[in-house]
Symmetry: C2
């Protein structure tokens, strides 16, 4: 069986965990957590990074930092993972969903302005598949209406956006806050794991408190106060240094990992291009302002039926391919809170996206098998013209 | 320097992490998470166990499961860690603090009833130092007033309570819900880590959903639904299987670890007893219905000044001893929400508890050094009569 995903050891993970234990501290904010923070702050110029136990938790920290309260509205794509919404629902927000773009599963930047009301507090763009939303459009709306922007950069490590001025900016470094994921399906992994990035310095001091159970323990460890106290709401958002040690070993190999993933991505793309040109399915679209970080490879099938057939045929040939998000605006949970608006493109990607196996150790021979099976299944399905 | 705490490898931690990676799954609920759940369910007869990223997160799950809403009141000791309270404050609860017992830092069971109002929803006893609260009293109040009980069993692994009928029950197995910690200072560690125990089966199904970001993914993995959807509020409460693998290696050595810790505890107790009998300080009190799981060793000093002097003198002699909680009812954060009542015993333990170095690999020679330094410092402080 070729799995959809496969976690891997890049080299030093176990040795670094041993070092973390030997250092005398494996709770949060040990030596490897600091190394991870420095890595991201140095490489991408992020103002302040804080590892969290998940991207979900980083989004929850963002919701608390923005002081989201009942009645506040938050605009985000419907085509995303439930955590993007739940982080804000937990603080009482009303979620205002936005449709996807026609050419890409990311949110339709041109549809945002009509959703803004006096109650709107934040916009949460999701960089689907690590491909940038048009951040110039989103940031200028935020400026115009005095809103905050939280980038859901779960899939967007080492990916970039080139703005109108021609400046190339790392995703996660543009909004006021951003959240990354190191879940096992991501480019860089720690099983579960995440990170909050703070680009607006007004949030730094409170972020440290919220992440440490609402206490000023960070100040205590720096010797700035003589005991730490309960001073705010908060949770235990910080991961064990065991997780940070694992993560740091992966970060050290980021360049190699990215090279390998881009090779895998490009191979899929080239092999599938001829059939895509015959309109049998669509290939991922990368806008010119965006880079491709090779987070995932998907095709957009012609229909839900075709996708289901392909998933089943691949599976019966030992290949695990999967669908992805399900439009959140249709969920039974949210329907009572939100008037139902049509979101045809969110629904289209819900029904038609098919993700192919993608992991660092995917063999070319396995990729050949996947591509050949997929192409022959499509010919069976759609006829010899393909 | 003799540290206050020191994490350790019990043997198989790194090998099990390697196995988790090889298993193809290091996100939450992998093979080692299941092994940990089975360990606790089998050994202690807990109905349902769910690992979490921290004890804080387990308490937050409890607050969500109890459907705590603004206006609800939750009774808990003031002498506890801020997370006990914050988990419920995040859902909008008003916290009603209870004083400690005169003979023990645990909450005064006899003071609870007068704090109950029609708005009271839950009681959260904290088993301080792993020593049981009088659960018969607490559970009968819960029955009488139709309240839920959430045991904060952060420090209480492998500790027991003997009820009036003479039945010996594991802590964490008595209340409707319970929360454990595997933070690096605990008996069994995973750096950061926790567990929710569900003893009331009505909460099991929703707990699985809340822990999986408000989705029915657990059902999806069991093949009970064909896709998983957003169905509730929730967060990413489940830890990486890397953490579970580390934890399971420790659990396998639980008996050995507990033997060693009880030996360390007893050695402190015997060596300090003669001076305690001269009333230089108090030793921990274990009620007859409670066991001692040797989570920590503390003395109760005669005053804040004496404690401060002892901490400083131990430190200048290379020994790190520490104080513990700070009465939550005095915190600047809560004062606006709660009328200020006097809690003399909570304040007493805030000012006078001194915790001595305690970890599995603590050498007897180091214990001798600690005890000798402590005793000679006390003689200096209090005079030759001691």
């Amino acid at each position: 069986m070729i799995p959809f995903n496969k976690p891997y050891l890049s080299g030093n993970e176990l040795e670094y965990i041993r070092e973390a234990v030997a250092s005398g501290r494996i709770s949060g904010d040990g030596i490897f957590t600091k190394k991870c923070h420095e890595f991201f702050e140095t490489r991408y110029g992020f103002q302040k990074c804080l590892l969290t136990t998940s991207c979900t938790d980083a989004l929850e920290m963002a919701a608390i930092l923005l002081d989201i309260r009942p009645g506040d509205e938050v605009i985000m794509p419907s085509y995303t993972f439930p955590s993007t919404a739940n982080a804000f629902v937990l603080r009482g927000a009303r979620i205002v969903f936005c449709d996807s773009r026609e050419d890409h599963p990311g949110m339709s930047e041109d549809s945002i302005e009509e959703l803004i009301t006096p109650k709107t507090k934040a916009i949460v763009p999701v960089h689907y598949a690590g491909v940038a939303c048009d951040m110039d459009k989103i940031m200028s709306l935020a400026d115009k209406y005095n809103l905050y922007v939280v980038e859901d950069a779960a899939q967007a490590i080492d990916s970039f956006y080139t703005n109108k001025k021609g400046e190339k900016k790392p995703l996660g470094g543009i909004g006021h806050l951003a959240a990354f994921s190191f879940n096992e399906t991501k480019n860089i992994i720690s099983g579960e794991g995440g990170m909050l990035v703070i680009n607006d310095p007004q949030f730094i001091e409170r972020a440290e408190i919220i992440r440490e159970k609402g206490t000023n323990r960070s100040k205590f460890f720096r010797g700035e106060v003589d005991k730490y106290k309960w001073v705010d709401i908060g949770s235990s958002f910080l991961p064990s240094d065991i997780i940070a040690a694992f993560l740091y070993a992966q970060l050290e190999k980021l360049e190699l990992i990215q090279l390998k993933r881009k090779e895998i991505w490009q191979y899929y793309f080239e092999k599938l291009k001829p059939m895509a040109e015959k309109s049998a399915f669509q290939l991922p679209f990368i806008p010119e302002y965006a880079t491709n970080n090779a987070h995932m490879f998907y095709i957009v099938c012609d229909s839900l039926n075709e996708r289901t057939t392909l998933i089943n045929q691949l599976k019966s040939n030992g290949i695990l391919s999967v669908f992805h998000f399900i439009s959140l605006h249709h969920s039974a949970f949210i329907r009572g809170m939100e008037e139902e608006r049509e979101m045809p493109f969110s629904d289209l990607y819900t029904e038609r996206i098919l993700r192919l196996p993608f992991y660092n150790e995917l063999l070319k021979s396995d990729q050949d098998k996947i591509v050949n099976q997929l192409l022959s299944s499509i010919v069976c399905l759609k006829g010899a013209a393909y």
